[in-house]
């Protein structure tokens, strides 16, 4: 497993910011999508914004501002 990753990594030079920065962007976009889905699921199960924020480790306002208008409450 580790060797396969190393092999793929060898094809692209991770010291090149033109690879490293888009890689971070790719990871962040995946993270955002998973967060959106988890928040939506939690709202469907009736979790309050407060407890969602607590579990994510951010403020209630932050999580509400980010997700409330995405229809997570529906």
């Amino acid at each position: 497993m580790a060797s396969r990753t190393a092999q793929l990594a060898a094809d692209l030079d991770c010291r090149d910011p033109a690879i490293g920065l888009p890689a971070v962007a790719a990871l962040r976009s995946l993270l955002d999508d998973i967060e959106t889905m988890q928040v939506q699921h939690a709202r469907q199960l009736g979790w309050s914004w407060e407890s969602i924020a607590g579990a994510l480790g951010v403020s209630r306002q932050a999580v509400h501002r980010k997700h409330a208008r995405r229809g997570a409450g529906r």
């Binding site: 497993m1 396969r4 990753t5 190393a6 793929l8 990594a9 094809d11 692209l12 030079d13 991770c14 690879i19 490293g20 888009p22 890689a23 971070v24 962007a25 790719a26 990871l27 976009s29 995946l30 955002d32 999508d33 998973i34 959106t36 889905m37 988890q38 939506q40 699921h41 995405r70 229809g71």
Partner: protein, 194 residues
């Protein structure tokens, strides 16, 4: 502005363009994404190649990005992000969000395409492309402007939207790669304007 205003082919182009923008991590859908989607669509690409366009060269000239999976592997993370998204969505039992196209009421210049993975805006150039396509399809251009016959906008209408704006860099790109804008071509793309 609604997705219903486009026919199957037109919607396909819009969805493809959105997908391309998302893949490149752009916050806006640009004319470049629309052009790439037009080249993949049957109708527009046939008209363009018949009038001299080297479609392959245009595709290579359009900016593209390495797939997310390879980028992540380069920093030592060995996963397929699309597969992970799909798996999480299925395990939580969530429906994929349906695509929706609308103009923001408070900001009329913002045209939003919402769907899988959130909302994307169209860039100013791409917004013009959509507006021209709808303007054509709603019969407000000659010679039918009095009739105002409405029909759904097609992929060809979107291509006409790109060609209608000479300042659009994608329009220049097409001409650079061999597209000959002659009366016969105009008659095909802008049948009502001649």
């Amino acid at each position: 502005m609604k997705l219903d205003a486009f026919d199957e082919g037109g919607r396909q182009v819009l969805v493809q363009a959105r997908h391309a923008a998302r893949e490149a991590h752009h916050s806006r859908i640009g004319s470049g994404h629309l052009l790439r989607a037009c080249l993949d669509a049957d109708g527009p690409s046939r008209v363009l190649t018949r009038h001299g366009l080297d479609a392959g060269a245009v595709r290579r000239a359009l900016p593209g990005a390495a797939p997310d999976r390879e980028l992540l592997a380069a920093i030592g993370i060995d996963i397929d992000p699309d597969e992970v998204r799909e798996r999480v969505r299925r395990s939580l039992g969530l429906e994929p969000s349906p695509p929706r196209l609308y103009r923001r009421r408070s900001r009329p210049l913002h045209i939003v395409f919402a769907g899988e993975g959130g909302r994307l805006l169209f860039s100013p150039g791409a917004r013009k492309v959509l507006e021209v396509a709808l303007w054509r399809s709603q019969g407000s251009c000659k010679p039918d402007w009095r009739v105002r016959q409405r029909r759904p906008a097609t992929a060809l209408d979107l291509l006409a939207g790109i060609l209608a704006d000479g300042r659009n860099p994608m329009c220049c790109l097409l001409v650079e790669h061999g597209l000959r804008i002659r009366p016969q071509f105009l008659a095909e793309v802008f049948p009502t304007a001649t």
